[in-house]
Amino acid sequence: MSADLRGLADIDRVIHEPARLAIVTILSLVESADFLYLQREAGLTKGNLSFHLAKLEEAGYVSIEKTYRGRVPLTLVRLTPEGAAALREYRAQLREFLKKG
């Protein structure tokens, strides 16, 4: 593998996945967002979103809080400081790689 492509191979694959990238991008701009908003904005089904959130939570990039608003259950998602740092790192890596190209 060439030196240029090696940089891309080190890229964070948790964030690199398009659906997860969309999720963390949204969360980087807000304090928190609920499941419904993320589902609609990322264009995912409930099952898909649950899968991707689980991956992000496993990596420590998001925190998920299940709460209630009145009697309605609500799932709130927040980007953790580690998630924000990972997104910044990812963007920097991508910019560097694209600059070389």
Binding site: P18, A22, I26, S32, A33, D34, Q39, R69, P73
Partner: protein
């Protein structure tokens, strides 16, 4: 995912708060109330107790109005928007001492400039609606740039036009201000209702899999 797609996501996230039009509806109602307030101060006889009370309570009216706007928007979002298209809590901008000072200084300068203008040239009173319209237009323009929402640019133009039209019609001073706020308030409400109907058309209530959100 392309850079444009990411920028699009970022833009839509920032715009989401304004998508339902509730801000304009609430502020439009506030402006209508202001229009009524100014009209009452002019229409009531000088010896009226209510007029004295109104004259003394302008700041209170503004503060109460802003409080009610906040509550109304929050109520409508929790009842209609969040169950329909999801809940977002935006990051609160820190009210640093520097920001507070900047807001106080700019507010003070604008207020002082108006007072000086009126004292030095009383004929400026005839142009108060136009000046008010331009001030609000500038605020709408700044808001439009921050929120990246096109219809706020349109409201900026509408504000300037209404203010100028009222002044050119020879309706100056407080009567003109009252008319300006009444008409522009109605324009904001219309803008908000249009935005709301577009929002309803674009969205649908999520009914899949029960109430989980």
């Amino acid at each position: 995912m392309t850079d444009d797609e990411i920028k699009d996501i970022e833009k839509r996230t920032r715009q989401y708060f304004y998508e339902d039009g509730f801000i304009e509806i609430a502020v439009g109602i506030l402006f209508l109330m202001l229009g009524g307030y100014f009209f009452a101060t002019v229409a009531l006889p000088a010896t009226s107790r209510i007029k004295s009370w109104l004259d003394a309570s302008f700041v209170l009216v503004i503060l109460a109005g802003l409080f009610l706007v906040g509550r109304l928007v929050r109520f409508l979002k929790f009842r209609i928007t969040y169950p329909r298209t999801g809940y977002v809590a935006y990051k609160k901008k820190e009210a640093t001492p520097r920001r507070r000072a900047a807001a106080a200084v700019s507010g003070g300068v604008i207020g002082a400039a108006f007072s000086v203008l009126l004292a030095v040239s009383p004929s400026v009173r005839a142009w108060l609606p136009a000046l008010n319209g331009l001030l609000i237009a500038f605020a709408c323009h700044l808001f439009a740039r921050r929120a990246d929402v096109m219809r706020f640019h349109i409201l900026a133009v509408v504000s300037a036009v209404i203010g100028l039209a009222v002044a050119l019609a020879g309706i100056g001073d407080i009567k003109g201000i009252s008319l300006y706020y009444g008409v522009f308030g109605a324009a904001m409400i219309v803008s908000g209702i249009v935005a709301f109907s577009l929002y309803l058309r674009r969205s649908r209530t999520d009914e899949e899999g029960g109430h989980e959100r």
